[in-house]
C-alpha cells in the first residue's frame, strides 16, 4: 500500500479512506485547539488576579478598581475605590518607546493627580544603564509629584535622570506626565 500515486504524487485511496483521513486530521486539530482553550480559562483567572493586585498596589488604601472603557472596550484607565466605595484615585498602564524598545509601566495618582505609585512592568533597555529605571531609587522620585514637576531636573522638573540613560529616563517621565494629563482632562 502506498506505492501507487496519482499524477500529483498523492497516494491513491478510496473515497472512504480519504474521508477517514481527513476526519482524523480534523479530530486532532480540534483537540489541539480545545486543549489550550481549557488551559487558557485557568490562566485567565490567574492573570486577572495578578492585574488586580498590581493595580491596587498603585493607590494605597484602594480595595477595588473599575476600568473606564474606551471605544474598543479597552481600559483607558481605572478608578480606584476604597473599601467604603469612595473614589480615592486613578490607576493606569501605559507603554512608551524607550531606547531599545517599548517600556510598559503602571502608575497611580490620587484625586489631586499626584503620583501615588509607579512600577515598570517591562523594558528592554541597556543593562546597567537604561534598565535601571526599574530600580526604586529612580521610581520613588515620582511619588508625590504633580505633573508640573514631572520632568527631568535638566528641564526644570524634579526627576533626576539616570546617568548615561537620558533616553530611558525621559521616556518614563514623559509617559507618566502625559498619561496623567490625559486622565486629568477626562475627569476634571
Amino acid at each position: 500500500m502506498g506505492a501507487e500515486s496519482d499524477k500529483h504524487g498523492l497516494p491513491l485511496m478510496t473515497r472512504r479512506e480519504a474521508i477517514k483521513t481527513v476526519g482524523k486530521l480534523a479530530t486532532i486539530a480540534l483537540i489541539g485547539a480545545v486543549a489550550p482553550a481549557i488551559v487558557q480559562e485557568y490562566a485567565q483567572e490567574e492573570k486577572d488576579a495578578r492585574l488586580r493586585d498590581l493595580l491596587l498596589r498603585m493607590v494605597p488604601g484602594s480595595a477595588t478598581v473599575k476600568p473606564v472603557l474606551g471605544e474598543n472596550d479597552e481600559a483607558l484607565y481605572y478608578e480606584a475605590y476604597d473599601s467604603s466605595g469612595m473614589l480615592v484615585g486613578y490607576v493606569f498602564t501605559t507603554t512608551v518607546y524607550g531606547r531599545n524598545g517599548p517600556i510598559s509601566l503602571v502608575g497611580g495618582v490620587d484625586l489631586n493627580y499626584r503620583v501615588t505609585g509607579i512600577e515598570i512592568l517591562s523594558q528592554s533597555e541597556t543593562p546597567a544603564l537604561g534598565a535601571r529605571i526599574v530600580e526604586p531609587q529612580f521610581t520613588e522620585q515620582f511619588v508625590g509629584l504633580s505633573t508640573q514637576n514631572l520632568e527631568l531636573t535638566t528641564r526644570g522638573g524634579r526627576i533626576h535622570g539616570i546617568t548615561g540613560a537620558t533616553i530611558s529616563s525621559t521616556a518614563v517621565t514623559r509617559a507618566m506626565r502625559e498619561k496623567i494629563e490625559e486622565i486629568r482632562k477626562t475627569t476634571s
Binding site: G2, L10, P11, E17, K20, T21, K24, L25, I28, A29, I31, G32, A33, A35, P36, V39, Q40, Y42, A43, Q44, E46, K47, R50, S122, P127
Partner: protein
C-alpha cells in the same frame, strides 16, 4: 537505559545534531532563563513523544507530519499560556523564543524519527534524554556567558561566585558572546571526539 542516555551525550542535539540552536543561544544570558527554556522544551517534547507514540498506528502517512505539528504546537501553546499567566517576568524575558519551541527541530525530529516507531516508554525515555541533553548544554553556555560577561554567577539572584579583579567581557552577554561560546564549545567537543576516534583506531 541507553535510549535515555543517547540524547544526553552521544547524539547531543546541540553539539552533534546542531538542532534547535535558535532558542538555545538567545536565552543563555542567565541560568534561570536557560532552565526555564529547558523546562518548556522538556514539557513539550516528552508529552508530544508520548502522544505520538500512542497514536502512531492510527495516523495515515500523508497526515503524519501535520498531525505531529498540531500536537507539538498545541502543547507549545499550552506552555506559552502557562508562562504568560504564572510567570509573567520569565514570559517577557523569553519573549518570542517561547512560541518558537513549536518549531524546535529537536522535538519534531524525535517525534518523526523515534516516537512514531516505538512504544510509549522508550519514546518517553528517548525524548527525555534529548531534553536533558539540550538543557545541560544551554545551562553550561549560560553559566559561561554569565561568568565571563559579568564576573559572577547568580542563580535566582543569589550570588554564588564572584571573581574579583576581573574586567567583565561585555560582549559575552550580548549576542556575539553566545555565538562565540557555542563556537568554542562545539570546537572543543569536536576535538575531543577526534581524539577519541584516533585513540580507538590506534588500539585496533
Amino acid at each position: 537505559m541507553r535510549v535515555l542516555t543517547r540524547g544526553i551525550l552521544q547524539e547531543n542535539p546541540i553539539f552533534y545534531l546542531v538542532l534547535g540552536i535558535c532558542s538555545a543561544l538567545a536565552v543563555t544570558t542567565k541560568l534561570e532563563n536557560a532552565l526555564a527554556m529547558g523546562f518548556a522544551v522538556t514539557f513539550v517534547i516528552v508529552i508530544s513523544s508520548a502522544l505520538v507514540s500512542l497514536i502512531r498506528k492510527h495516523i495515515p502517512a500523508i497526515i503524519r507530519l501535520a498531525s505531529y505539528m498540531i500536537v507539538i504546537t498545541s502543547l507549545t501553546t499550552i506552555i506559552v499560556i502557562y508562562f504568560e499567566a504564572f510567570d509573567p517576568a520569565m514570559y517577557r524575558t523569553l519573549g518570542i523564543y517561547l512560541p518558537l519551541v513549536a518549531i524546535n527541530c529537536i522535538i519534531l525530529g524525535r517525534a518523526e524519527a523515534y516516537a512514531s516507531r516505538n512504544t510509549i516508554i522508550p519514546s518517553v525515555l528517548d525524548s527525555l534524554g534529548y531534553a536533558i541533553g539540550y538543557t545541560w548544554v544551554i545551562s553550561l553556555v549560560s553559566l559561561i556567558r554569565q561568568l565571563l560577561g559579568t564576573g559572577s554567577i547568580t542563580i535566582f539572584d543569589i550570588q554564588i561566585l564572584t571573581i574579583s579583579y576581573f574586567q567583565p567581557l561585555d560582549f559575552m552577554i550580548r549576542p556575539p558572546g553566545a555565538l562565540f561560546t557555542l563556537g568554542v564549545l562545539s570546537g572543543l567537543i569536536a576535538f575531543l571526539r577526534q581524539r577519541r576516534a584516533q585513540s580507538s583506531r590506534r588500539r585496533r
